[in-house]
Symmetry: C4
Subunit: 230 residues, 4 copies
Amino acid sequence: MKALRKIIIESDSRQGRIFDIFIQVLIVISLITFSVDTLPNKTESTTRLLRTIEIITVSIFTIEYLFRVVLSERKLKFVFSFFGLVDLLSILPFYLSVGLDLRSLRALRLLRLFKLFRYSKTIRRMKVALSIARQELVLFFSLTCILLYLSAVGIYYFENAAQPESFSSIFSSLWWAVATLTTVGYGDIYPITVGGKIFTFAILMVGLGIVAIPAGIIASAVEKARDMEG
Amino acid sequence: MKALRKIIIESDSRQGRIFDIFIQVLIVISLITFSVDTLPNKTESTTRLLRTIEIITVSIFTIEYLFRVVLSERKLKFVFSFFGLVDLLSILPFYLSVGLDLRSLRALRLLRLFKLFRYSKTIRRMKVALSIARQELVLFFSLTCILLYLSAVGIYYFENAAQPESFSSIFSSLWWAVATLTTVGYGDIYPITVGGKIFTFAILMVGLGIVAIPAGIIASAVEKARDMEG
Amino acid sequence: MKALRKIIIESDSRQGRIFDIFIQVLIVISLITFSVDTLPNKTESTTRLLRTIEIITVSIFTIEYLFRVVLSERKLKFVFSFFGLVDLLSILPFYLSVGLDLRSLRALRLLRLFKLFRYSKTIRRMKVALSIARQELVLFFSLTCILLYLSAVGIYYFENAAQPESFSSIFSSLWWAVATLTTVGYGDIYPITVGGKIFTFAILMVGLGIVAIPAGIIASAVEKARDMEG
Amino acid sequence: MKALRKIIIESDSRQGRIFDIFIQVLIVISLITFSVDTLPNKTESTTRLLRTIEIITVSIFTIEYLFRVVLSERKLKFVFSFFGLVDLLSILPFYLSVGLDLRSLRALRLLRLFKLFRYSKTIRRMKVALSIARQELVLFFSLTCILLYLSAVGIYYFENAAQPESFSSIFSSLWWAVATLTTVGYGDIYPITVGGKIFTFAILMVGLGIVAIPAGIIASAVEKARDMEG
């Protein structure tokens, strides 16, 4: 019992690490299987192979999950923890054959890698940094949303008459605002009137700041969190 | 009188908070109504429903506005304050039935949310950060404008002969400069000559810095403002 | 003589400021004239008006330039200074009627605005920041160039066979590398093979850092320069 | 022997610097030759000229390489060092006439420029900065990969039915995720459904931070490394 806990839950011993790496490799295999599964025009033998791999990996994940629950000292706490829920949700659909496929959630299980490679200090630092910058992030996210809305309304007035197809409503204009202020700029929708172009320039000058500042604030909060450690 | 002021103007009491949240929800509803109103091909019943919601929300906003004026200790100061003007401008067009629709300004009323959730410290910090970085921001904004102009002139000389439609004048070239230096890159206009491409590379190397630095400067000014508090 | 110098060269007195602002307004007018001049399909009267404005502004700029030279204590030093050369180059082509139009250089004359609004401290800080970060900037610019070249070669091998038109040589691939690593992404040229897409992902992961870091380094050098002042 | 080492390996003496600059110029020439070589429709005389330049430069590089090996005090260490391998790999294919052309690796030889211009301090600082930020970089790179995968799966569910050609599988969706989260936005593939657009907005709000933070972290680590020096 104690030996099993050492292997499955903890990762300090050699066997524990090997077990963890084995599970992580299985997760990656199962994610690739899932992705290949979405390819159109698969041959029947490929489909069969994918199905087999899926059955094997899910079986192992299920056994692992049950062991994790049984071996936990506080079972309920594990079941409702982040990793407990992710572990469950990424195998449950297989048994329930529900419409919604949650296999991609297995990607989140890869986050255990950080525990494996002893990143606990770095992760704690990130949490400190996030808590330092929390209020600024909420503020800038709200400002971004308000700015996106006002940009959408503005461009709608400038472009709707000239391009009734592209800027058909404030909702399509919102899509333009998102693609423009994040500087993605797909090019599926853009202003053609002089007024709309000048408005875009003005919005970008204000918006680039508002959208780009959070990353800078987090970066300096990480720095501060590092200073607080030493 | 005092009790009403507590509810409508202040937001410390329980009733005050409930009132504020009620108004904020109304604002969001009215913004959605406004957006839906721009959708083409609405049925008549939808139009009627939107109109009804608009009448109800504007009525409530009007009563709220009048109360805010009456309950203010310094009435004129409130009327000409930022929120006083925004409150007025976002209901006035309804009564004047003017051409210009200012309903979208209600989005700015959402900024009161920050007061509600006691973000006054964060907002004060932002103001300090902006005042620290003010001169740099003006400097970089001016440099950006000059760089945009010179980029537009430069690309005009390189591309006008090859693409007389896209780069028809310095004004169209300015639009290219805005879309390129902000890295939005819609793809509606781009250089095709070798000279124009090399020029774009040179401009981007200088310009990425000039456009991206302000965000970094604000981020570190926020950091400094935080340090000044403690 | 002394009074004239106070007005034209210095900008401390009231008359000096008025003169400076007058010249700056003239520069902006002349830049707009220049831009309008590039518009196709102008009427004859417009062309005549533009020509008249050009003659007036150039005359004033010439008189101003001559005064600046005459009133300078060290004449040669002014003539070969940055502003001295910009002043000369932006009026000379008018008299020589050379092919190359340098009127756009007048935009650089707008930089005198910073002197007018007493930004000398901010500009000095920028110079300190640039000198702090100089070596890093040279390093990252070199790394960017090498990375652009290697990206171009890489994508050429992946895409040339599939898209011989778009990726016709390393030179066209270089254009792709510039547009991609700066995240402009016009969409005129992009990989379509699986190998090319994976290569793009790898290059972007490395490249985003190398291209984006200089802006961050300058921002923190500005911060350091500010600290050194106080 | 000692004199030769001074010239070829060290770059403190005047002759050493001249030799180094001579080699660097040759590398640039050979890189240009290599690029021109990929141009389609070359005349026969051009091809011959390129071939001649290639033979001359490779001969000089080979002699240089042999001298570097012979003159090194610890020969094996040089051969297996970064520059030793780059030097070898960028001439070897010429003699083996293998399919894979590694001439572009010569670009990496340009890194010796930094030694030439005594950038050793700056490079050491960069190494310190990278070692400070290493764990954060690994963390954010992993988060980026997981986020890219989840974005690809999400957009696949939203868009596959509407655009079975563009979002044909999770692999094509991954390409969309890369182009979008890096804000390159070529415009070859983008969401058209309302759900897909809202999902893109959500992903971008989270993703811009995760992708942009590493550059900020490196920038502040450079700052810290600078502080540690003084």
